[in-house]
Symmetry: C2
Subunit: 313 residues, 2 copies
Amino acid sequence: MRGLGYRRNSTARALKTRRTGLIGVVSPGDSTFGPSRMTLAIEEAAREAGYATALSVVRDPDPTSVDEALEFFLDRGIDGIVVIAPVVAMAEAARQISRTVPVVVLASAAEQTPDMQVLGIDQVAGARMAVRHLRQGGRERIAHVCGPEEYHDAQGRIIGWREELRDAGLPLLPLARAGGWSAADGHAAARRVLARKGGDQGGGEAPDAIFAANDHLALGVVQAVREAGLSVPEDVAVVGFDVVDGADFFSPPLTTVRQPFEEAGAAALGALFGAGAGGPDGATVPRVRRGASSGSSRGPSLIQPRLVVRASG
Amino acid sequence: MRGLGYRRNSTARALKTRRTGLIGVVSPGDSTFGPSRMTLAIEEAAREAGYATALSVVRDPDPTSVDEALEFFLDRGIDGIVVIAPVVAMAEAARQISRTVPVVVLASAAEQTPDMQVLGIDQVAGARMAVRHLRQGGRERIAHVCGPEEYHDAQGRIIGWREELRDAGLPLLPLARAGGWSAADGHAAARRVLARKGGDQGGGEAPDAIFAANDHLALGVVQAVREAGLSVPEDVAVVGFDVVDGADFFSPPLTTVRQPFEEAGAAALGALFGAGAGGPDGATVPRVRRGASSGSSRGPSLIQPRLVVRASG
DNA sequence: GGAGAACGCCCTGTCGTGCTT
DNA sequence: AAAGCACGACAGGGCGTTCTC
């Protein structure tokens, strides 16, 4: 009889079992690149585990908006929540949630507490890979165009850049902070870097390499370098971050760092229901196991990115 | 009393009212650009209307996968479904769904039936804008690097290119079909275009402009043009489609066509519950009204894109 | 193995109260 | 003053499943 047209009513089932089989993903509305890929990965892993995925987009990542998204999910009796939190304010807002439902936060740097797991991609390690590659290519004055302050990833990349320079005994050049993540922002910041020809605190000469905090910034950096009458990579090497679509055909093709977003998304779902808890129908969800590779024991579990070498540096 | 800690159980409510207040979005898993932006827009519009949005990603856009996604939603008692269908197979699979739930398909070309609304962005018009701009800039031999055949958008852009050339009395050059949407695909196709120096059916000379079916393809096209010893835009103008992030800092900055994805997403939601039906709590959802601008009366309602002129053509 | 209770909400029907004519 | 009317409080059944007895 189930063969012809019968379909179990999942609402009644949810009422009785007190599990909706729904998980919520809170995602920032801007910068659709990383977050959207993670969302897709979470959804696929969730479906695999028998869960459906609900989405809630947060336009401005302030605590109230995140709170609203969380409340929205709680009202709908969601079984678990993944918060994609590229900015500090989102991660902090997630911390406020009631302990009634498991929460995992995807962020490269946020303090983990017993009832809020954090995991992300190791930005420090990624930045070090980029800078190490530059330095092994013989560059010695490596500047950094970093992203906006409120982003975990921007901060992590600064730290990695600093650490690698320090360990290599290379001079620490002054930092150029971009106002956003776009090519125009990278262009403006790179002009500032190139303008300070010498004499100031960072050291005497112009940089021979620039590490940009993402590929779009790098695009603007390349442009600025050329406008200064210099060539890439001969005079100034440039490396980016993210492996944006088309980066292999930028001029020149961009050396950059690949972030395993898919892996991070899948790991987030594994972490949500990992502690032996089963799926909505009782099936067991495989728990993610992945060693924390840097940072304190209370920091997030980190996934390693990978360097992609092309012509720009 | 509701003030302190009470929260209405939406599951019980759904059981009684037979409405879950959930809508489903079926989205392709590849090419995350357009679809992901539309998904975000749908979610925001849905939340505005009191609905939550569930997501189901389809990795390979074949009919069985789409069917699975649709079944998945039906099992969960969803109130309506939006299918983002860039490829023909997805739109067709959506047609098979039972009439128990309203469905709207986001596709630039698919036949509309009484129980399946279709709406999308006018690819033909967008392509005509691009080609018209080229021709008004004095170009007369305008080639087209088109996208993979199974994509509605690729087909629409071919039609627009053809129509505009025909109406202007310009020669119709042979088409170069790219194998995908990436820069590498565009590069390969453009090399073929530039290799046929003359003598074949298309006419005697090499093109003085290339309309690429999207910005990534255009990136590869620019590269191929340069490898042929020609310059952009002096020898060969290039225009793209999509206004990808960073396109303003490509070298040269890319002339391209902006698709109002957000508007399309919001319109899809409006169309879902437009016919006087209210939101999950009875509130009325504003219906989208937008004139169909081309095609037969059974074709989709179309939203107009906009040309963005920069240095490449 | 088959009957029945319970999940929490919505909706209907009944009854009681207070006000009007 | 008695009867009618309007409205609010309250109890009960049922949505379709799961789980117990």
